[in-house]
Every structure is written in structure tokens, then in C-alpha cells.
Symmetry: C4
């Protein structure tokens, strides 16, 4: 939508130097957004309505909220770690990168919504059809989360002048498949949840989140890479 | 209300040097406020009340909430980018600038309120009159958002000693029409929504937000400027 | 409660140097808390329950919420500016200062509560007695806000080695009366609201907030000081 | 779950140097999360439902909310101070440390939930059994909070190369018992609350929080250490 803008600015304006240095402010803003999202999740944990003496039973029946909370907490933690690694790849911002980054933050900000829907659908007052809907919605949100990362890597491949010192084009190319893998596999998990079984779909989503947790340092370098005998090349 | 204060401070006080350097803290505070507002929007996305099996239908009926969420998310993103550019113009804060900045933050902080009102008015339980009210309220909030930017530029024109190194008075003058344009056109959108048709008014508001998104690097430098053949002068 | 601790730490510990430098983290933490509080206020602005066509009327009846919102927004803005000035007085943190600062943040964090109570008491479903209670509660919160500032200044007078370079003991002494003035006058406003008239008490609170807004650069230096012919000495 | 990863990264990646320096971003993220949690607590303070003239009575009946709010505010303040001291021990982050830190933040983020449950159980509509449940839940959360600190210290003992300059292994060893003490004593408080008396259990929890407040500068250096005649060794 927005054409990348890294052209020199006019005389008398704050200039490109200032714009490049503002990556720190983007980091701080993104971190703040992610910190708020990961904390807002707790607002969905509510004291159950209960009769005197019924608190423990009420708390137990809220297990879907706890499950959804833990899954989304880990998921947002993974997003933070990956976002961390992402911004270390670049040496400056452009208007285009700012909007791609806002797209990533959009994906992060909405997570509490599918989380609550999932918690609600796993509890009373919902049937299996609702569960299929909720798992598909969660998978859809995760796909929405993955999509701007692909755009980010594509943008970097077209603008190698934005790469941080020491980051090679080749490294960027090797990272590109990760969001695509995420997009495809979250999509498959959603289809699994919708057409086959919501629990299977949810398991697929959780496995994907753990996969991203283990590879958040990059595809070939994390514990998973070592597990499968891939050494840094 | 508050007279600008950039006079030298008394002996033994922390002094002007410290005050000038505190622009970083203003940036951090403003970023935090904007990050929180953009994230709080998600709290308005609620799980719909539904009967077993009715989750999907309930979610679909919430489309006004999603629309209002996306519009306000982009709007706050635009505000952040513009605020970003704004604070790069100056080299220090004064008490007057602090209060003008708090005015800008006030405009940002209230956005979730007209957003929720709009989402509510577009849904069931509201008629066309409510929609006119909601669109006019959103436009009014956007005008309230634009007003302190005008005050900011006016303040800078009267205090050129606050301009950051490399920022010319001429550059500040060329930026001044932007918030005025916003003020007038948001106002017209509100009137359009109130007197003609709420949907038209809402379209006007969305067009204005996209306009600000495309010009957030400055009026003559962004993609729009290039589109219309304006080169930096 | 907590005895100030600025004794040298044991060998092998991170050491005093590290502790002194961490004032930046205290600033960032305090700013984040204040930024969140000032933003959370908007959550109290709710879409009024209304019949189709009754949105405008419903919004109008919410005026106490808007009034309470604006007053508390300005109040928290004042707190931020003053806190700003406060931390510029010192060159390092101690455990005691950390807890005094947490006391200040406690006063800031609770503000949304008396704000909501006030908005509720000014609306339907409350009588004059409720209004007296709400105004007194707001005044009490403001006193709770002022108290730790007095402790802060008292602590600084006893620990002049913590003063930032260029800040004299004399300057600290001249600032000390400000929180005491606040404490006394918020208290009087509360008593006025309780025993005489809640509206008068509320006006007293608002005047005090504006007084602090105008003197947030220090008692003798702001616009008020100039207005009354006090020049920096 | 996640194997620590501090191996050198592949050529063309941002590299270890960048990763070590990112401790500042971890501090900022952690501070933001803790700042949000400590502020969100206020959302649990609600205007009581009341008849005209019944506001004061309604506010008084909310005392359990105030008590729970104050306890959790101090508790999160303590966590912040301790986390502060914790991150000063290290000179860089690894993937493993990041997940341990996310574990600590998990423990902090959930605190509003047991706080609200406790406030609810101390009020009307709950009996003594509910109170036992609520106190045990709060103690359980506090144990969940303490556990990742133990993992953190254990990780540091196995990776002394991560210690900040001037921090000795011996110092780390002397700090290790603190989270273990917390884990055990919060557990005992929970058992006391469950099997003997919820009020006693709650007192135990509060005493533990105050103990951690007084020792947040380290076990042998704070006011408590001086009280018992322990001098730094």
C-alpha cells in the first residue's frame, strides 16, 4: 500500500541521519506494545461466579481460560524474541518498514481476542462446532501474525542497503522460509481444527508455537538445529 | 493557558541544560502512551453472547467492532509516526511544549472511546440517527487530535531557538498546513456524516487517515508528494 | 518503615556505582506507570446503554465521566511533570528512595478509582451525600499523592550526598513547601466538599491541580512566579 | 525445556556481540511488563453498586479489595526491585536466560488474578472454605513467582561467563537461598491458610512480602542484615 520511502529528504528537514537513528524508538515502541499485550491477557482471567463454598469448583471449571492464557503468553513471548532478532537485522527505518512493523504489531495486538474466544469455546455453553470456529480463528490470527514477517524479509531483500553491519544478504535469504513455514502450518492447523477435530488443530497450533520458541534465534542455530545435526554454515 | 517558560532558571536548580536534554523522556513517555492506546483497542473486541453452536454467527455480527478496530489502529499508527517526526523538529522542551504535547496525547488517549461508540452505533440496537451521532463524534475527536499540532507549529514559529540543528524555519512553515488541513477535512467529514449520510462521513474520515498515513514523512516528501510530481525543494 | 540504605555493598556484588546509575531505570519505570495510568482513564468512558435513536442523549448524560476524565488527565499530567523535575534533583537511588518513589507511584496508580467514583456520584443514581463522599475521597487520594513527596524532600535534606551536580541544599529547601501546600489545601478542599458543598470542594481540587500545573517547574520560576513579580533569586 | 544457547552464531548473522548488548532491551521489556501489572491492579477497584446515599457504605464494604490491592502493589514493587538487582548480575542474554526471564514475567503477570480472587473471597458471598481456597491460590502464585528465580541462579552458576564484571561466583551462591526460602515459606503459608486458618496464611504471605521488601538489596546487605548484625563479608 505504502511505497517504500528512503529517498533523501529536502533541505531543512530533520534528514536521513535522524531517520536512520530512530530504529531505537521503533524498538522501544514495539516492545511496549508487546509488553502490554502479554500483560493484558490476565484481564481475561476472571473470578468465577459462585455460591458460598463454590470458589474452588468455579476456579477448576475455568481451566480453558488458563490453557488459553498459557498458550498465548508463550506465543507472545515467542513473537517478542523473534521481533527482537528481526530488528537486529536492520540499520535504519523507512516509512515502508514502519508500516510493515505496524502490521506485525497489529498481529500481536489482536491475540487476546482469539485467546478469549478460544477460552470461551472450550468451556460450557459452547458445542463442538463453536470449538472448530474458535480453533480456526486462532489459526487465522496466527497466519495474520506471520504474513507481515514475510513482507519484512521481502522488503529487506529488495533494500539490502538497510541491512545492519555484518548481516549478509545470504543470511536474510536463509531466514525467509521461517514465516512462510509458519503461515502454511498455522493454516494447516486451522484446517485440521475445522474439518477434522478442534483438539487436533489446537495441538497443531501449540506445536507450531513451541517450534518457533525453539528456533527464535534463527532456523539453523537454535537447539532444534543442533538436535538435527545442522551446524552453522 | 500556560505561558511558555524558557527563561533561565534560578541558581541551584537543575538548570536549562538538564531541561533541554529531557526531550528523550518526553519521547519515551509519549511513545508509551501511544503504545498503550493502540493496544487497549483490543479490549473492545468481546466474545459475543451466543447459544451453543452460535459462535460463528455471533462473531460475524461483530463486524462493526472489527472495522472500528482496524480504522483506529491505523489512525493511532499514523499519530505515532507523525509524532515521531514532530519531536525530531525540536532540540528541547519547555513547560509550554510539555503541555502542548500533553494535549496531543489527550487527543490520542480518547480514541478508544469514539471507536467503541462507532462500533456500537454500526451494530444492532442503533438506528441511522445514532450512526450520524457516532460518525460526528469520531470526526470531533479527530479534530481535537489535530488542534494541538497547530498550536505546536505556532509555538515553534514563535520560538525558533527550540528548532533542532538543521531544521529551518522555512521547513516548519511548510509543515504547518498539514494539521490545519486535517482539522478542516475531519470537520467536513463530520458534517457530511451528520447532515448527509453517516457512511459517507465515515469514508471521509478513513480517506483522511490514509492521507495522513501517506504523508507522515512530511507533505512534500512522502509517496503522495512523488505521485503528484512534487520534488523536494 | 525501610531504613535508607546507602552503605557500601559487599565485595563481589554489583556495587554502588551500578546502583547509582540505575536512576535511569527508575525514570523509565515511573514514566511507564504514569503513562499507563493516564491512558487507563479512558476505559471508564463507556458507551451508554440506549434505545435506538437515544445515543446522543445517552452520551450527553455521561458528562460527569468526561469532567472527571479531563480533571484526572490534567492531574496525572501534572504529576508526570513534577516527577520529572523531582528525579532531576538526585544523582542516584537507594533502597529508601526506591520505596518513597513507589509510594508516589502508588498515589498515581489509584487515581482512576476516585475518578470513577466521582463520575458515578455526579450522575444519576446518587444523591448529595454520595457527592460529598466522592469529593472527599478524591481529595483524600490527592493527599495520599502529596504525602510521599514530602517524605522525598525530607529524605533529600538528610542525604545531601544524593543531590545531582549543581543542585544546592538551599534549592531543595525552597521546594519543600510545595507538597505540604498541596497536602493542606487538598485536605481543605475535601473538608469543604464534605461539610459545606461538594461542588465547592471539587472546584477547590481543580484550582489546586491548575496551581500545580503552573508551578511544575518550581515555585518561583513558573508563570505564576512571574505573575506575582517573584524573580529567581 | 529450552537448552541454553550461547554458542557462536553463524557467519552473516547479527552475532554474539549484538546479543550480549541486548540486555538493555530485556530490562526495558521486563520493566514495561511489571509497570503494566502494577497499574492494572487498580482496574479491580470498582465503584460499588449502591442506592442513592449508599456510596460510603458501599465503599467501606470494599475493604477486601483495598487490602488485596495494597498487598499486591507492594509485592509487585518488591518483584521489580529484585528483578532490578537480578539483571545487574549478568552481562548478556542467551535464549535460555530469555525464557527464564519470561518465566519470571509470567509469575508477575498473573498476580492480578489471585489478587481479585482473594478480594472476592474476603467479601460477601463467600464462606471460610472459599477463603482457604483464595489464600492457597495466592500462595501458589507466589511460589510460581519464586521458582524461575531459582532456575535463574542455577543457570548462572552453570554459566559464570555470563556474570557482569565485578560479580563473583561466590556472590551468586550467597543469593541463591533467597528464592528457595521464598518458595518454601510461601508454600508453608499456603498450607497454613488451607489447613489451619486463612487469615493466618494471609499474614504469613504478607510477612514474606515484607521480608523480601527489606532484603531486596541482597540477603546480607539490607536493613534486615544490619538489624541482625550481619556485616558484609
Amino acid at each position: 500500500m505504502v511505497e517504500p520511502d528512503d529517498s533523501p529528504t529536502g533541505p531543512g528537514s530533520p534528514g536521513t541521519a535522524g531517520r536512520v537513528s530512530e530504529i531505537d524508538r521503533v524498538k522501544a515502541f514495539s516492545d511496549a506494545v508487546i509488553a502490554i499485550v502479554i500483560t493484558l491477557l490476565v484481564l481475561e482471567l476472571r473470578v468465577p461466579e459462585h455460591e458460598p463454598g463454590g470458589l474452588l469448583r468455579g476456579l477448576r471449571e475455568e481451566w480453558p481460560s488458563y490453557l488459553a492464557f498459557v498458550v498465548s503468553f508463550i506465543y507472545i513471548g515467542v513473537i517478542w524474541l523473534n521481533h527482537h532478532a528481526l530488528l537486529r537485522l536492520i540499520r535504519g527505518m523507512t516509512l515502508g518498514l514502519n508500516w510493515i512493523n505496524l502490521g506485525i504489531l497489529f498481529g500481536a495486538v489482536i491475540i487476546p481476542f482469539p485467546t478469549t474466544v478460544l477460552a470461551s469455546a472450550l468451556g460450557h455453553g459452547s458445542d463442538n462446532y463453536d470449538r472448530r470456529v474458535a480453533v480456526a480463528l486462532y489459526a487465522l490470527s496466527a497466519m495474520l501474525m506471520s504474513a507481515p514477517w514475510m513482507v519484512f524479509f521481502g522488503y529487506l531483500r529488495r533494500h539490502p542497503e538497510l541491512l545492519a553491519p555484518g548481516v549478509t544478504r545470504r543470511y536474510v535469504r536463509t531466514q525467509t522460509p521461517r514465516p512462510l513455514t509458519g503461515l502454511v502450518l498455522y493454516g494447516l492447523s486451522g484446517l485440521l481444527g475445522w474439518f477434522v477435530n478442534p483438539v487436533l488443530g489446537l495441538v497443531g497450533i501449540i506445536v507450531m508455537i513451541l517450534y518457533h520458541a525453539l528456533t527464535s534465534e534463527g532456523l539453523r542455530e537454535g537447539p532444534l538445529g543442533r538436535l538435527f545435526g545442522r551446524t552453522p554454515t
